[in-house]
């Protein structure tokens, strides 16, 4: 190596913290004798201003090329000393810290043995730094545009926060309007404010924001690249309506002769084939459902085209693919309610019209819903007298559903009970529960009030629901009484589990993000990095990461927006240079390193080369490390038998030198 080994060793007293427990001078003397060491000195506090100056002076004076500092833990001051080296002509990575405080002077009682250990630690550091090489942090340029996948309340909040900070945002939503699950709800617990009243203004904000490009009826199709430099393909599905001209007058919707079940109303009403998702939809313009439109299917009809005063209907519309350069991605794909019908035969498997799920109840009780807010049972439109609410349908049931708790059901079940008691005077509500979980501000109080309102909480899981004549009998155990109970109900509401939204697995796979066994997106660390993923530049917002209620969803959305803003505020990003590097000439392309990487940073790439011996032009596979993705764990290096892939800053030779130094 061309670089000189002229190493300077500096021993810190740390007051008496080090000097009081071991013989600093003996360490200095021993250091001086080590191979490569050109200078050794000690000082009371090396981290102090004069301490640092002492080192800088010594570098100049003695022409030092590498530095070893024996002091406190590198976790404490490694960064301090690296910064200090920036003022010298030595690369800041030609520095090793020997931890003689936390791991020697503080933990040992025998003065001589502690001294001996400190000498060993210095010897290891000197040996290692002798093999260190100058490293330069790489700068990755950052595209200042964020992509938010999913236009529910999480996506909306994240998009608004990022846009408000002055960055461009593309919000992609697969439905024809943003709003997600929240706009379907009637009221939100525990404050009982109207869900649409608080979410629709935000939707309008999104559409009006100069920094937000809204892409509804669109799906992310392909993601490539890495933090700061993603290339994303979005497919804009055909809407058959020219939204540039359409004013959303609604004539076509009125006149369309064909009606299908409304997904938005969860099958409780019908909507035309040309439709807006709901009256306050954003964008407030209709689209044609190509599976329902007779014109598109058979060519006969065309009523909407005839009626449209502005000629916006275009039956020839086709899907388009848009390519975007993106710097950061927020995943906000949300959830879907569990399909209880295929899980619970004992609840009728969907045979009973009057057994509905919580989201259907939201539509029933919603003033803009199919019954204009009157609670009527679907079978005959009668007002129910007795309503049974069943919790944990699909949740906390490893056999038929999911092992996890869906977290929001206890509270919205209480809300449903409250709404029933409010709207149906004389009505009775029984809530079957296993445990009641109300950890949240004002939550327990809300539950308390619902109970006082007269909702009867029965501790037990409903065992089965059957029809007897006109009523539905809910049979379960009141486990507090230890007696079986059979309740004749007019309406049964099943509070179903949340499941990852349809297609969320595809999105996560595309991004290279991990999922847990239940399909929820895996955060980088459950406590300390809750909105980040293992993939740099990809963040999580809302239920896609796990069941949660609206306050938590919005909080997490803002948190991920903060992370995105922090990233996009930079023009370029410095990555740690201590990452894996491949010596292409040694790499045999066996690919053993590839599956080890948790960040999918390693790919095998075809590299042009010449065949040894013949000189024939060939292409061979060589491992390639994506510096934007690699986090520097070094697990790959062990898989490489030849040592072609190595970890900069912790090279095989460096660690071997440390080992060897101990027994020289």
């Amino acid at each position: 190596m061309a670089l000189s080994n002229k190493t300077g060793v500096f021993i810190c007293h740390c007051g008496t913290n080090i000097a009081g427990a071991l013989d600093v001078h003996k360490v200095v003397d021993a250091s001086r004798a080590l191979p490569g060491v050109a200078y050794a000195a000690d000082y009371k506090y090396l981290c102090s201003e004069p301490g640092q100056q002492l080192i800088l002076d010594a570098i100049k004076e003695h022409g030092l090329k590498r530095i070893v500092i024996a002091s406190c833990s590198p976790r404490m001051h490694e960064i301090t000393f690296r910064k200090m080296l920036k003022k010298s002509n030595i690369n800041e990575y030609l520095l090793e810290i020997a931890n003689i405080r936390e791991q020697a002077s503080w933990v040992h009682t025998d003065f001589d043995k502690a001294t001996e250990k400190a000498i060993d630690l210095v010897r290891m550091a000197v040996a290692k730094v002798g093999k260190s090489e100058p490293l330069k942090a790489q700068a990755i340029p950052i595209t200042k545009r964020a992509l938010v996948i999913g236009g529910g309340i999480a996506g909306i909040q994240a998009a608004l926060d990022i846009a408000d900070a002055g960055h461009e945002v593309v919000l992609v939503e697969r439905e024809c309007s943003i709003g997600g699950r929240m706009v379907m709800l009637d009221k939100t617990f525990p404050t009982l404010d109207c869900s649409a009243c608080i979410s629709t203004p935000k939707m309008v904000d999104v559409s009006a924001h100069p920094n937000i490009t809204l892409m509804t009826s669109s799906e992310v199709e392909e993601v490539q690249g890495y933090i700061g430099n993603f290339k994303v393909k979005v497919r804009k599905k055909a809407t058959y309506v020219n939204h540039d001209i359409c004013t959303g007058c609604g004539l076509c919707e009125e006149k369309c002769p064909f009606k299908v079940e409304s997904d938005f109303d969860r099958g409780l009403s019908k909507r035309p084939a040309i439709y807006k998702l709901f009256p306050q939809a954003v964008p407030a313009k209709p689209v044609i459902d190509k599976d329902a439109c007779v014109k598109l299917k058979t060519g006969k009809c065309g009523v909407c085209l005839k009626i449209c005063p502005l000629n916006c209907i275009d039956y020839e519309d086709e899907d388009k693919t848009v390519e975007l350069d993106i710097g950061a991605i927020v995943v906000a794909t949300g959830y879907k309610p569990a399909k209880w019908q295929s899980m619970y035969n004992e609840y009728g498997a969907g045979r009973f019209e009057d057994v509905i799920d919580g989201l259907q109840f939201e539509r029933l009780v919603n003033a803009s819903g199919p019954t204009e807010g009157k609670i009527k049972r679907p079978s005959d439109g009668k007002e129910p007298e007795t309503v049974v609410i069943v919790k944990c349908v699909g949740s906390r049931d490893p056999k038929k559903g999911h092992a996890y708790c869906s977290r929001a059901c206890c509270m919205y079940a209480a809300k449903h009970a409250h709404q029933i008691l409010e709207k149906l005077p004389g009505g009775r509500v029984f809530i079957f529960y296993i445990d009641i979980r109300t950890p949240g501000k004002g939550y327990e109080e809300f539950y308390d009030n619902t109970r006082k309102d007269g909702a009867v909480y029965v501790r037990g899981r409903i065992s089965r629901i059957f029809r007897e004549g006109d009523t539905l009998v809910c049979q379960g155990e009141d486990s507090l009484l230890g007696r079986q109970v059979r309740i004749n109900a007019d309406l049964v509401v099943l509070e179903t589990a949340m499941e990852p939204a349809e297609g969320s697995a595809d999105v996560l796979n595309m991004l290279g993000c991990a999922k847990n066994d239940d399909g929820w997106a895996q955060e980088a660390h459950p406590k300390l990095r809750p909105v980040e993923t293992q993939v740099g530049g990809v963040f999580l917002a809302g239920v896609c990461q796990g069941p949660k209620d609206i306050p938590d969803t919005v909080a997490q959305a803002s948190a991920s927006a903060a992370k995105v803003i922090g990233l996009l505020n930079k023009d370029e990003m410095e990555t740690s240079p201590m990452i894996a590097a491949v010596a292409a000439d040694k790499c045999s392309g066996c690919g053993a390193c590839e599956p080890i990487c948790p960040y999918t940073a390693i790919t095998l790439e075809k590299t042009p080369d010449r065949e040894p011996g013949t000189g024939k032009k060939i292409e061979r596979s060589v491992a390639n490390v994506n510096a934007g993705l690699c986090q520097g764990c070094g697990a790959c290096t062990v898989a490489c038998r030849t040592g072609a892939i190595d970890l900069l800053g912790f090279r095989n030779t460096q660690i071997l030198q440390e080992v060897d130094a101990l027994w020289q």
Partner: protein
Amino acid sequence: MAVDYEPKIIAFCCNWCTYTGADLAGLNRMKYPENVRVVRVPCSGRVNPQFILRAFRRGADGVMVCGCHPGDCHYSTGNYFTRRRFMLMRELLEFNGIDPRRFHARWISGSEAAKFRDTVTEVTQLIRSLGK
């Protein structure tokens, strides 16, 4: 066996858990034998079994590999590979006639300063009792 025999033990510790735990032991002024020399690595997954061979070849009396508990890896999966590699290596060392009591792999988290102290103490005593 000489009474004053002091074994030299090398410990490969991951930066995020065990090394932090060792630092915490220092902050708490816990006391343990001087025999262990720690090599800092980013992740226990970085520890090549060949490092262990090298250490024994050079004359190490004992070798330790320590990292985050399974599931807690800073790099999410590194220690799962550590686990497989060293479950194999341990057997192979024993097969080659190296006393398995001289090689230890342990999960020690950043908060388990006491576990670090106890492990080091215990391993040192064990190896001291084995002699050279």
